[in-house]
Every structure is written in structure tokens, then in C-alpha cells.
Amino acid sequence: MLSSAQLIEFANNNGIPLWALNASIALVMAIVVFAICGLGVIVFVYMERKVSADFQLRWGPMHVGWHGTLQLIADALKLFSKEDVFPRNADPWVFRLAPIFMFLPAFISLMVMPIGPGIVIQDLNVGLLYILAITSISVAGIVMAGFGSYNKFAVIGSLRSAAQMVSYEVPRALSIIGVVMIAGSGKLSSIVGAQHIWYAILQPIGFVVFFVSSLAETNRAPFDLPETEAELVNGYYNEYSGMRFMFFLFAEYIALMSASALTVVLFLGGWHGPGPEFLGPIWFLVKLFAVIYVIMWIRWTLPRFRIDQVMDLGWKVLLPLALLNIFITGIIMLVI
């Protein structure tokens, strides 16, 4: 989309150099995606509160606006106006940069998501690898937050989180290999294009492994050990308040969005669905919200694991399963 023919022609006719065109498109796209992220986070937080309330037989937010729809704006205003507490012994640079390092990977991983036929910001040949590589940077953000805060709970939380994310990255990456083998491409749009039957049906083991390790990667319950409020007092973002705290929350929900979008693209058929082609983005959104609803459902029904159980699950169950999945896929592809 960055170099579509009409735009280049327009630039040539008006004497705009190509790099200026590319740079301005990139800027506009970044702002658009940021706006989508902001809107998405508002919707997801509202949804999370309502879903959790539903599971616990409560009403959830009801007072601000119709059925509490404006509650989030009120909360955001409250967090904006709060004092920015800065721990005296914290490392100033690391402390300030950590929320940005958490946020950026999730944000820029949305840039390669194909939401409809031909509707993608930058369709990289190595799109899948790009997402895996970029999301692994967010571990650095968590470690920075924990280390920079000068707080024992934050350090323990970030250590746990780093251990968890590094070990779940392995089964997550291996579970995708089955999909790449069938689709014959690492380009996300061609993976969706090749997906006439959902890969969740063709790759059941891979789907389960990918989904579980995605939950662990985004630190969602039952894998939210880095932020256990009962033992670690919210773990790595323990010392953050006001604006910076909001940024962590923001980053977490965008990571949830990008992980769910990747699940839809890889295993649930992306934009495919009944009806004409232009309905693609709507089908994508429907599937995205279904995946997010399931993730919230899991969060509010399952209790949290212990850290050793999490490690055992990753290395002793999911990793062998992912390897088995590659093996089975290879044999079946050889036979057919």
C-alpha cells in the first residue's frame, strides 16, 4: 500500500519527491494506527469490565453515561490529572523509557496485519518473522521497568515475566511453523489467501499451542504471574502511577489486540467469510472480538498458575507438542 500506483502518479505530476511521499504516508499511517489503538483500548477495557461483571453476576460500570460507557473517559481524565510519582532511588532514564519499550513493539506489530484483501499497511515478505522478532523486544521493556523502579517486587515480577516470555516464545514460534509449511509463505496476506479451510481445523495441535503461548506472552491470566496483585503488588509496574501507569495498561491491551489479530490471521481464516469480498474487514473484526472475548472468558474463569507450573507447562508440554505438530504436518504433507 505504501507504493500504490495512483499515489506515485500523483506525486510525479505535482513534483513531490518519492521519499517525501513515502515519509508522509508512513506518518499518516502511524497516526491512523495510533488512533485505532486508542479506540480499541477504550472498547477492550469497557468490554473487559462488562465481561468480568457478567461472570461474577454484577452489573459493572453503570453510572457514567449509558451503561457506564463514559466511565473510561472519566478514568483516563483521573489518571491524567494525577501526580507523577517518581521513586527517589529509581534510575531516571530506564524508569521513563520502560513504558515506551513496552508499548512500541505491540504497536508496530499491527503494521503488517492484513485486515482485508489488499488492505495492509506494509505487506512484508517476512511478516510472520517480523511479528515474532518485534514482540520479543517487549521483554526488554518489562525488565527495564522492573530494574529501573528500585523495588524488590518489581524486580521479582520482571524476572518472572522475562523467564516466562523467553520460554513461551519457543513453543509459540515452533507452533507457527506448521502453518508456514502448509501455506508455503511467511507473508501474512498469502497465508490468509491460502486459507480456504481454517488452519485451526487443519492444525489443531498447533492452534492450541499457539493460543496458550500467546496468553503467556501477553501476560494474561492464567499466566499473569508478573503482576500477581496478592503476592507481588502488581509486579513490574508497582512504582508507576498516573500517566505512566496508564501507558502500561495501554501497552497491555494493544499487545492483546495484536496477539488476537495474529491468531485470526494465522488460524481463523483472516478476512475470509460468507458474502462479498468487501465484507472482509468486518469478518476480521468479528473474529477479532470473538478471540478477545474467549481470552477474557479464560481470564475470569481460571485461577492463576504457580510459576513452576507455568515453566513446566511451557517446556514439558507445549514444546514437545509443537515439535510433534511439525513432525505430523511434515509426514502428512509428504504422503498427500
Binding site: W19, D91, V94, L124, N125, L129, Y130, V143, F147, D308
Partner: protein, 168 residues
């Protein structure tokens, strides 16, 4: 992408790379040095993208930033002074370091003065991933298989070590 933009990006990346490399050795705070190393790795990935080598660039980010740097930070945090933010390097083994660095610089200078670096005029291939895959499965099958067996052994070894700890 035209030439001027490429030059601007190249010199911007080079400046960032050199500055962060200097910062790595001048920072006494180990955590900061590790962060700068991570930034340097990202900048190097940027060079690969500038050369249209997207697969190599991705691998650079995946392996070095996502793997090596995180393990490095992990190592720093697991040391005995793990909650001390202002942990600084003790600067032991100064003599050895100077000797090793001087030797390495001398080696680099001798290499760069003797080798005639030529610039290829061929256009970069579009789909590097499938090209690399084909080469792995044909010309370089033996090194590739040896490497994969080695990595598998490391993986199994990690699981075995983890299991022994549970038994105790």
C-alpha cells in the same frame, strides 16, 4: 528509494551505531551498557534492511535483541547485587582488556588495508527467504543439519537440567 534518502539513512544509522558503541564501553552502569548494546543491535538490523536483506535483519532482531540481550539482562539481574540500580563495573583486568583490544584493532586495520572491498552493482534479490531456504536444503545441507542437531541437543539438555532440579 532514491540515493539521497539512502545516504541520509545510512549516515544517520552509522552515527547512532558509533555513538551507542562508544556509550557501551564508557557507561560504568552495567544495565545501561546492556541497553545500549541492545540499541546497537537494532541499528545493525537497520543496516540490513537498508541493504534489502529482510530475512537477515529480522534474524538480527529476533536472535540478538530478543534473545541475547534479554539473557544478558537476566544475567545482570540474577547477580548477587540484583536490586542495586547503581551497580557499576569494577574495571578489573584493565591490562588484559587493553592488550586484547589493541590486538583486535591491529588485526582489523591489517585486514581492511589488505582486502580490496568491491561494491556489487547487481540488484538485490526480492524474496530472500526462499533463496536462503533453497540454499540451506541444497548447497549447505550438511552444516545446516549439524547445526540443527547441535541446537536440538542444547534444547534437550535444558529440559534434562530443569527436570533434575525438580527431583531434588
Amino acid at each position: 528509494m532514491n540515493d539521497i534518502a539512502t545516504y541520509i539513512i545510512f549516515f544517520g544509522l552509522s552515527t547512532m551505531a558509533i555513538l551507542s558503541a562508544i556509550a557501551i564501553v564508557t557507561r560504568r552502569n552495567l544495565f545501561h551498557a546492556a541497553m545500549f548494546l541492545g540499541f546497537l543491535m537494532l541499528v545493525v538490523a537497520g543496516f540490513y534492511f537498508l541493504l534489502d536483506a529482510d530475512l537477515v535483519g529480522m534474524m538480527q532482531v529476533f536472535v540478538y535483541v530478543g534473545g541475547v540481550i534479554v539473557v544478558l539482562l537476566f544475567g545482570i539481574m540474577l547477580t548477587s547485587q540484583m536490586t542495586n540500580v547503581r551497580m557499576v563495573s569494577a574495571m578489573k583486568q584493565k591490562g588484559f582488556t587493553f592488550l586484547a583490544v589493541t590486538g583486535f584493532v591491529a588485526l582489523l586495520i591489517s585486514v581492511f588495508t589488505k582486502v580490496n572491498l568491491s561494491v556489487s552493482t547487481a540488484t538485490a534479490p526480492k524474496d530472500t527467504t526462499s533463496l536462503v531456504g533453497k540454499l540451506f536444503m541444497t548447497n549447505y545441507i550438511l552444516p545446516f543439519e549439524v547445526m540443527s542437531v547441535l541446537l536440538l541437543a542444547a534444547l534437550i539438555g535444558a529440559i534434562v537440567i530443569a527436570r533434575q532440579e525438580v527431583k531434588q
